[in-house]
């Protein structure tokens, strides 16, 4: 039911070939013991409506009694707003954790035109939690933001 707006949008609007991209920078932290953070990115329509997860990086492979999914709730905002109602792993959304560096993620091709808030949240074991929010207009908008601790520069360009 929550995905209806997107389903409708996807059906009504012609899908552009390239919808744009998000660049996420994970800073190099001077720590003796560093675990790769869990990171999620999602779009919230400004006018309200269901959030849409663009990517989530977590320990995909760890199974057993304490699977990697267990710590997804540490991405507190994402988990409460979007993650806990998703079925994971999700095709094209779930990914493995990543070390320091810059990563480019494609925006969904069927995003309905409008104003959104892009959220990028990171949480690291024995480390901090960081949430960057940037407004973005689809199509054509560009924006950037910067994290405080666990995230570096975040840029987004919607084609």
């Amino acid at each position: 039911m929550r995905s209806i707006p997107f389903a409708l949008a996807g059906g009504l609007i012609a899908t552009p070939a390239l919808a744009g991209s998000i660049t996420v920078t994970l800073p190099r932290l001077p720590l003796a013991e560093y675990k790769r953070p869990y990171v999620a990115g999602w779009l919230e329509p400004v006018g309200g409506g269901a959030p849409r997860t663009v990517f989530v990086w977590y320990d995909l492979r760890k199974g057993g009694n304490e699977p990697g999914t267990r710590w997804l709730s540490d991405l507190r905002s994402w988990w409460r707003k979007a993650g806990r109602t998703m079925k994971l792993p999700a095709d094209g959304v779930s990914g493995a954790t990543k070390g320091p560096g810059s990563y480019t993620i494609a925006l969904p091709g069927n995003l309905a035109p409008g104003k959104y808030i892009l959220n990028v949240e990171a949480a690291r074991e024995h480390g901090g939690r960081d949430l960057v929010t940037v407004p973005i207009t689809v199509p054509g908008g560009t924006a950037r933001g910067t994290g405080k601790t666990e995230l570096g520069a975040i840029t987004v360009a919607a084609k």
Binding site: N65, E66, T69, W71, S73, S77, W79, G83, R129
Partner: protein, 317 residues
Amino acid sequence: MSRLAKRLAGALLLSTALVPSMASADRSFIVPSSTILAGNSNTVTFDAAGADHLFFFDHRPIAPETIIVSKPDGSPADPVTPVRTRFRTVLDVRLDQQGTWKVASRQVMVSGTLRLNGEERRVGGRGGPPPGGAAMPAGAPAQGPRASAGPAPGAQAGAAGPDGPGGQRRQPPIALADIPAEATDVHLTEMVNTTETFVTLGAPTETVFKPSGKGLEFAPITHPNAIAAGETARFRFLIDGKPAAGVKVTVVQGGERYRDDVAAMDLVTGVDGAVAVKWPSAGLYWLGAEAEDKHPAEKRAEMRRMLYSATLEVQTP
């Protein structure tokens, strides 16, 4: 200081022998170790207590036998083994079902006064020793504070005998089941105290909020495991299944031991039985509600006092 105040309050309560208030100095709560969880299964530990400070353990445990754990599908959870210690009851619950779980304690007590052979007597608890027994009931206050509280206004001097500091023995309370047929002026109040908390594994569900239709109940409009700082949550209260207007609701953030100001939010439910709570910051909160009416389940009682409390965790935005 607080203990002395409590003893004084207890002494006043006993000497006036009016309707005992359950809104005593302490607050009841059940605190979960986590409220929002991910993964296939997880274990949450709960501390159940009544205490002067939120959420510390400084007064009494909640009796383990009053605690019921409900699974997301509404069925009771497999028996767990609570541990009762001096100040709290500890309970581990293995979450083996996705959705929202409820851990709740419910206590019902009937107490008050009656007149027997010209004497005013208290009713409540498990009663005292058999008539003629010499022992004071356990937990009776010391003579000092009682004496300082003055003679019982309800007691007639001739019948009750001397009530001064000379050391008159107080009559033990009479248990509800032992009220003699010849008792007159029976004035009883039923007290229902419910304490709950909620935790969610995976996606939130609503089954555990299904009202029983009895007494004061919490019927959240905003899911209690989906509340965040800066946002406004709406909660409805029901009495006997119907929206309860005019219920006093108090919201206090934990850790007031470290603040000068308790900063309690005092709210009253509207005609729809609902209150709106705007959360100033993330953390653990205590929500209390109280109401009274003249519809006790116990037929001999005149009044019903209902207390409800919930422990809620407000997330970061």
